[in-house]
Symmetry: C2
Subunit: 500 residues, 2 copies
């Protein structure tokens, strides 16, 4: 080995920059596929994504990387950022070399093919139509998990979960979810009873022209700090945030009869987008400069949407704004009514429409089922029935068809396993971060009451965004809030909001 650790590290940073740039291209194409692409383009797009994934994987696994890593690791890094960057390079290399190149491309193709069938299967509520494709997807997911697990020293599910949020372990998640289930069993009926005892909310009187909703979405998003020069808001069937830190793409969907969906999802996606915008530019396209994981990402969308924008203070400001934008009868825009309208608990079938309190039940169900699938305790053919049983057990409702059940989410049909817990870990982290912000920023509610999130965002910039991937999920929370993940803050938030 040629002992030039600095040169080896420089080669590594150049290489990961190149890989990140390919992944940016792939991400942009994936986002186009979701928001723009006509169905007929699906096969070609699958090929494009597969080839890009193969090229990125090829660069990540060239023999030179092994030598460069070993060489770079022979000297202590300049500082904690470079130390973390090198650690993350090593981790990514372990993951990449564990997976054979042909499996990488096979997964992209199988996922892409399955996703196309799934769209049609969901439209027609026909699980049987997509079953063979899903079996193929899961068969490849199991191969991936089996390849990753020994390399990472993790269980198969943990090895997959590590891909979306490093360090997530089923053994940690399981008790958190079990305790939440207990909490919910008691809290949900009480919240429902309290809700039933109050005046039902008035719905604002539509129609609400789409262009006016869109202008409002753009204005709010900019008010929260998302610069139009570095972002776009488009329409898609499902809201999401994609793109790159200098070109963030968010989407929402519009319903002429009800502006709630476009408004709230825009606030949510803006939270994601602000995180991307606040990542440390000095480490752009380096592992340590990336977002810290999908649970952290979700905490940033939820602290904006759920914690800040559904607070009494912000809704007070927002109501007057909405009245100005949409006109009509004033009563539905009264803050006390918006609180009843947008803070309701409902035992629904659809995860993305769920309220804060029941949302984790949807996640717990998916966590349990995907672990059973991975362990071989459940086969794909039995998935719809198992789904409905768990819904009955957790929320006491049964979907009337599979479109409202096992077919509702894209994730599994796109090969994404180990991902769902991030939504609830993120919700819990958001509550914990908000409690810390409340302690640290005295004028927070006064600002929210002016429709001003800048004190919150400034705190998040420093304590979350600008830290990139320097810290793992629990360490990030520990430095920002004084403790690792503590679900008590989320339960306290729900108790204050729904049970008093």
């Amino acid at each position: 080995m040629n002992m030039h650790p600095e040169a080896a590290y420089a080669r590594l940073t150049a290489r990961v920059t190149r890989i990140a740039t390919i992944n940016e291209a792939a991400g942009m194409l994936g986002r186009d596929a979701a928001a723009m692409m006509p169905n007929g383009g699906g096969a070609a797009r699958g090929d494009q994504m597969a080839v890009l994934a193969g090229l990125a994987h090829g660069l990540a696994t060239e023999p030179q990387v092994t030598d460069d890593l070993a060489e770079a690791e022979t000297v202590p890094p300049a500082d904690q950022w470079h130390a973390a960057n090198l650690r993350l390079m090593r981790h990514a290399h372990t993951r990449a070399t564990a997976i054979p190149a042909d499996l990488v491309e096979a997964q992209v193709r199988a996922n892409s093919a399955c996703e196309l069938i799934w769209r049609e299967a969901r439209r027609t509520a026909d699980f049987a139509m997509v079953r063979p494709a899903l079996q193929e997807v899961f068969s490849l997911v199991r191969q991936r998990a089996a390849a990753l697990a020994p390399a990472l020293g993790l269980s198969p599910w943990d090895a997959l979960a590590d891909g979306s949020q490093r360090g997530t372990l089923a053994a940690d998640v399981e008790p958190v979810f079990d305790r939440y289930e207990e909490f919910l069993r008691d809290a949900l009926p009480r919240a429902e009873a309290l809700q039933a005892s109050r005046t039902p909310p008035l719905r604002p009187d539509g129609p609400f022209p789409l262009d006016r909703q869109e202008a409002l979405s753009r204005r709010l998003s900019a008010r929260l700090g998302l610069e139009p020069e570095h972002s776009r808001l488009d329409r898609s069937a499902h809201p999401f945030c994609g793109g790159t830190p200098t070109d963030v793409r968010i989407t929402t969907r519009y319903n002429e009869a009800d502006f709630s969906s476009s408004l709230l999802s825009t606030l949510h996606e803006t939270g994601h987008a602000l995180y991307e915008r606040g990542l440390p530019t000095a480490f752009a396209r380096q592992p340590v400069g990336e977002a810290a994981g999908m649970a952290v990402h979700e905490s940033q969308s939820l602290i904006v949407e759920m914690q800040a924008c559904r607070s009494d203070a912000f809704l007070g400001w927002l109501g007057a704004e909405l009245q100005l934008v949409f006109g009509g009868v004033a009563a539905p825009y009264a803050p006390s009514n918006l609180v009843r309208l947008w803070r309701r608990v409902v035992r629904g079938f659809i995860r993305v429409d769920a309220d804060e309190m029941t949302y984790p039940a949807h996640v717990i169900l998916r966590f349990r089922l995907e672990r059973a699938l991975l362990a071989g305790d459940l086969v794909v053919a039995d998935l719809p029935g198992a789904w409905n049983d768990h819904m009955q057990g957790l929320l006491g409702v049964s979907p009337p068809n599979d479109a409202l059940g096992v077919l509702q989410d894209i994730h599994w049909y796109d090969g994404l396993v180990g991902y769902f817990p991030n939504y609830t870990l993120g919700a819990m982290a958001a509550a914990q971060l908000m409690a810390a912000v409340r302690r640290a920023v005295p004028g927070l509610d006064a600002a929210l009451a002016q429709g001003d999130l800048s004190p919150l965002i400034a705190w998040l910039r420093t304590n979350v965004h600008a830290r990139g991937s320097l810290l793992g999920f629990n360490d990030l929370l520990r430095e920002a809030t004084g403790k690792p993940l503590d679900p008590a803050d989320f339960q306290a938030h729900l108790t204050a909001r729904y049970l008093s």
Copy 2:
């Protein structure tokens, strides 16, 4: 050398498929940059495009290709398609290996950077702002031309022109353009005099709601044969056609006061899109399965827009449709008025707004200036003045500022030299093809009078689209029309339409 020509050919087809797939991804990103991307994303996008170009170039120039080509060429190909495919692979290899890899990425980055500055320079009519970036772009273009010329045995300009339409030689183009200039010197004043002697056209009375214009554009595009399952129509500052054969993306722009621009540009881009849709699927992602070049491409948009859709027959049908869609006073929608409205000659400053007769003058100007730039007879700093002199010489008008002059087109600022002649070669080919269709398809005008382009498109499918890159520009015309490019057909078309 290991004598397995079939295996070598199979390796080559797999490789070019991979390269074409990367180029598809790059094309989609380029299209997003033009239609969707916020300006702040420009730098990152430039990097993405550069990395993809570098990867494609790397695959195209691996030493294995040299061996595979030599081996595959040892046996006679199975048929003319495989023969042409192999010839085109050899040609692409000669081009790719002539250009150093670092020049490929340097050009993409310089073009991308210059294009961003150009947008602002054009907005503020400030050529000096973009001059240094354009000098850098031209310096790299000259390096490219100098590298390509000896490898291809062509002059520098010819070597560049070969990149957008194989076989285009300045020595062939020059006399065609000189003769057109002579024709124009006589024809344009006569057309203007005739026009002045007639009733001026009535403008349909707006406003024309954008969503109604968009619905009309979609309906016409589908009526012409472009399937929504395999295409999208979006909005962008400049209309274009991009994407891939199964996912064609066209754009248009809308003006609430005048629907002409969205309508006519949609018809034009639909012509491009139908060509992509009609390419031979058996050779998808192979060189012989691609469009035959940009002059042929332009012939397909212009035969739809200019030859078919601005014909008396089609305008007769279209007028009634427009009246139904937009309502209001009927007189402007009379076919005789639409003819006067959409078949006017005007000495304008802007190429993309030019009529059929003056359009070639805009092209001739660019052809002459870029040849002078490449030869070193003109420096970038003197370009605005030279531009205005040539406009005065060709059309007798001088742009009042550079936004209406040298800054109007993206091409040079994006490193595209040797491209402009394709617009006029395409217009001439369109006239020649239309004359052949008229001979071959007796019911053509009757169909056009019903708004039915299917007999025309069917003929084009067989004689142009489905042939891919099997034939070069002149051979394609020869087989389809009985002769190589003959500008007389275009002049006859203009004479019939504007001078009688």
